[in-house]
């Protein structure tokens, strides 16, 4: 091998060896992440962003959706502050107005974060953009019933659900229960159970299961004093 070749090979090997220690040294000197939850998301106006994406806006909606999940997950585990969540879900659903999962799960995220007016706004936006989908008025009815304890509004949205194609068989039963205004805890349990059985999504099923366990505990607590008497 020529002298130039030996030099080249030595440099290549040295560079290969140096890569990992250099990477580690840089990592130690990098500025710390803000509170462990990362920087605030960059929210652009969908009306400006959409044309600039040259028809690839559904793909951008997907990428923003992944960012939304990251944002929610990171803040749920730390400070539980989610001021940008509505903006993110709104952007995703403006880039792809038919992204039903984004309305459903985005609305659920907002409800978990106790941001009920924003959750309602997302569901209503979804209903306006997808008037033939039963899932969104159904979810909005559930939000009113479970979180806001507003049975009149819940009934109103389940009546809308009842008129839509493909709605689940249990919707009329919930409506009947609300009409008679009996068994709130049982109805709540049934609602979460319907969500648990009707969803293929592992996260949704897990959340529904946790809620059912909470309701079961409440039911036990209610019956225990009666039994003790």
């Amino acid at each position: 091998m020529s002298r130039r070749g030996v030099l080249g090979a030595t440099l290549t090997v040295a560079a290969m060896i140096a890569v990992v220690p250099l990477s580690l040294a840089l990592e130690r000197r990098a500025p710390p992440a803000e509170g462990g939850v990362g920087p605030a998301p960059v929210l652009l106006r969908a009306s400006i962003l959409r044309p600039l994406l040259l028809g690839f806006h559904p793909l951008a909606a997907d990428l923003y959706w992944l960012r939304t999940i990251q944002y929610f997950g990171a803040h749920l585990q730390t400070d539980e502050q989610i001021p940008h969540l509505y903006g993110l879900v709104d952007l995703v659903t403006s880039l792809d107005p038919h992204f039903i999962d984004a309305y459903q799960i985005g609305g659920l995220f907002l409800a978990i974060g106790k941001r009920f007016p924003e959750a309602i706004a997302i569901y209503e936006k979804g209903i306006a953009a997808n008037p033939q989908r039963w899932e969104l008025p159904y979810d909005l009815g559930r939000l009113y019933f479970l979180d806001l304890k507003d049975e009149a509004q819940a009934l109103r949205w389940w009546e809308v659900t009842d008129r839509l194609p493909g709605r689940p068989h249990y919707v009329p039963r919930f409506m009947a229960r609300l009409y008679t205004k009996t068994g709130s805890l049982e109805t709540a349990f049934e609602l979460w159970n319907a969500m648990y059985e009707g969803s293929d999504n592992e996260w949704v099923r897990k959340t529904a299961k946790q809620e059912m366990q909470k309701i079961l505990a409440q039911m036990k607590a209610q019956t225990a004093p009666k039994a003790g008497r």
Partner: protein
């Protein structure tokens, strides 16, 4: 028959091009990467796979159409192989048409490979085939043919670099023209509105070939939308190829 021979030659040449393989590998990697993205998502998993797949087909197809398309004619002139071809009983229009068909075939094979990859991935995820994606792929292919014709048209009278810039501009303006018209209608005066409306009818509105959103969500299209879009694309193809043939016929190749 002569057109078929030139087309086959152009196809063989394109297949030997390394750019093609790197772009195809990039597209398949992009489609494959959706497996990772899906794991990060809560909801919308099938949508992400389909969006990414259709996006990759369109984006990589555009790159192939532009970067291989602009070299189809100019490379023959640079290498002086055009003189050997023209010495045979082949007219210039047949040469242009043959080159177009050759790259069209290359794109067809690439789009088919990427579509099989996308459909297989969607099948793995949903446990069913997704034929609703096929109209989107068909119209994306028509859009790619249009861009190939535009690339050949520009390369008939200018350098490959300028041809690539012009063809990419056709893509960008074509995808934007509908939005530009909407902006003009919202914010512009009467003159700008008329100009934008006129341009949107004259310039190829490539957004008409992008129905990926409707396909992924299985939304209904208007009656006869696909045949009309095919006719619309066909009309522009004829215009672009006729212009390329007319310009190439006047070139001094002696």
């Amino acid at each position: 028959m002569r057109i078929v021979a030139i087309a086959f030659m152009a196809f063989t040449e394109a297949v030997r091009d390394r750019i093609l393989y790197s772009l195809l590998a990039f597209a398949l990697a992009m489609i494959g990467s959706s497996i990772v993205l899906v794991r990060l998502s809560v909801g919308g998993e099938a949508k992400i796979v389909k969006d990414l797949g259709l996006g990759a087909i369109s984006l990589v197809g555009v790159l192939i159409a532009v970067f291989i398309g602009v070299g189809l004619v100019s490379r023959e002139i640079d290498r002086r192989t055009i003189y050997t071809i023209m010495a045979r009983p082949i007219c210039r229009a047949e040469f242009i048409l043959g080159k177009f068909c050759g790259l069209g075939l290359t794109l067809l094979v690439n789009v088919a490979v990427m579509t099989v990859g996308l459909l297989s991935l969607a099948w793995l995820l949903e446990g069913r085939w997704s034929p609703e994606l096929l109209p989107a792929v068909l119209l994306a292919y028509v859009e790619l043919l249009l861009l190939t014709a535009a690339a050949i048209l520009f390369s008939a009278f200018t350098t490959p670099t300028l041809s690539a810039i012009f063809t990419l501009s056709v893509f960008v303006i074509g995808r934007l023209i509908g939005d530009l018209r909407a902006f003009a209608e919202q914010f512009g005066g009467a003159g700008l509105r008329a100009l934008a409306t006129g341009l949107s009818y004259v310039f190829p509105n490539l957004a008409r070939f992008n129905i990926s959103e409707a396909s992924v969500h299985a939304l209904p299209l208007g009656t006869g939308y696909i045949p009309l879009a095919l006719l619309y694309g066909g009309a522009y193809l004829i215009l672009f190829l006729a212009a390329a043939m007319a310009i190439f016929a006047r070139q001094d190749l002696k």
